[in-house]
């Protein structure tokens, strides 16, 4: 940021864009932020998938140890959260593809697409874990 005003690459002192805080939060803005947050969460969460797969490749004992972590309440919460992040980010991605193809730019449509992604991902996550809970009892 500093070289906008001095030294190499100095540019004319144009006004900076308004600070983020003066904008009113809109659905599309929240969706954009959540798309980024879920993307980052999936990024770090991928290490957990790697850990689980590696544990199955190491030994039954180590697999059981790792699986026991996923059986704890924080472990279950992480799996639930990962499912939601994945499905929500997926809906966000589909929304991006729609825009990339040139459709869905009317303001009302944008809002609808954003609300629909949120509704679909929450419902799908709930259905998946309802299925898991009823089929395995212990989960």
């Amino acid at each position: 940021m500093a070289d906008a005003h001095s030294g190499r690459g100095a540019r004319a002192a144009r006004p900076l864009s308004p600070h983020l805080q003066i904008y009113t939060m809109t659905v599309s803005m929240a969706s954009s932020i959540i798309h980024r947050i879920t993307g980052a969460a999936l990024y770090f969460g991928s290490a957990l998938l790697a850990w689980w797969l590696i544990s199955a490749a190491i030994s039954p004992a180590y697999f059981d140890y790792v699986a026991s972590w996923f059986q704890t309440w924080p472990g279950k919460f992480v799996m639930l959260g990962y499912t939601w992040a994945l499905l929500h980010h997926m809906m966000g991605g589909l929304r991006h593809f729609t825009w990339d193809l040139g459709y869905g730019y009317e303001l009302a449509t944008i809002d609808k697409l954003c609300w629909a992604s949120a509704a679909i991902s929450l419902t799908a996550t709930a259905l998946v874990w309802y299925y898991v809970a009823t089929n395995y009892g212990s989960v």
């Binding site: 940021m1 980024r36 993307g39 980052a40 999936l42 990024y43 991928s46 290490a47 998938l49 790697a50 797969l53 590696i54 199955a56 490749a57 039954p60 697999f63 059981d64 699986a67 996923f70 059986q71 799996m79 499912t83 994945l86 499905l87 997926m90 991605g93 589909l94 991006h96 593809f97 990339d100 998946v128 874990w129 299925y131 898991v132 395995y136 212990s138 989960v139």
Partner: protein
């Protein structure tokens, strides 16, 4: 008529010197991730609480192993590109940015190799 200035020629490669290639790869892997992501949700849901033998047998199934490998390739390429965008947006110092972009590559590669190795080892027995 060419409206471009020389500055445009020097700068059009973007913050990490890669150009529009990044955008396109993000889309291709994103599209692949839709199917592969649904597969992952199904796989996890079907294996929650399962014991070692069940998990191993399932992961060794060729169709499942191949889908997992595809997911690992597409997913890690995609997440590396996505995180690079985030880094470019928030890390402005040139040195810090290069370090972050590099660490990002290392992380994505490590996850990709670990998953691939695990799936292959389970599939080929041992």
């Amino acid at each position: 008529m060419n409206m471009r200035t020389p500055l445009k020629t020097a700068r059009n490669l973007g913050s990490a010197k890669e150009g529009a290639d990044h955008f396109w790869k993000q889309r291709v892997t994103g599209v692949a991730n839709v199917a592969l992501g649904l597969f992952l949700v199904w796989l996890i849901a079907s294996l929650v609480g399962a014991d070692y033998a069940t998990v191993k047998a399932k992961l060794a199934n060729p169709v499942i192993a191949l889908a997992l490998l595809a997911l690992v390739v597409s997913g890690t390429l995609h997440m590396r590109l996505g995180m690079q965008t985030i880094i470019e947006d928030y890390v402005h110092g040139e040195a810090a940015k290069i370090v972050c972009v590099m660490l990002n590559t290392f992380f994505a590669t490590a996850v990709a190799l670990a998953c691939t190795f695990a799936v292959l080892k389970i599939s080929f027995g041992a």
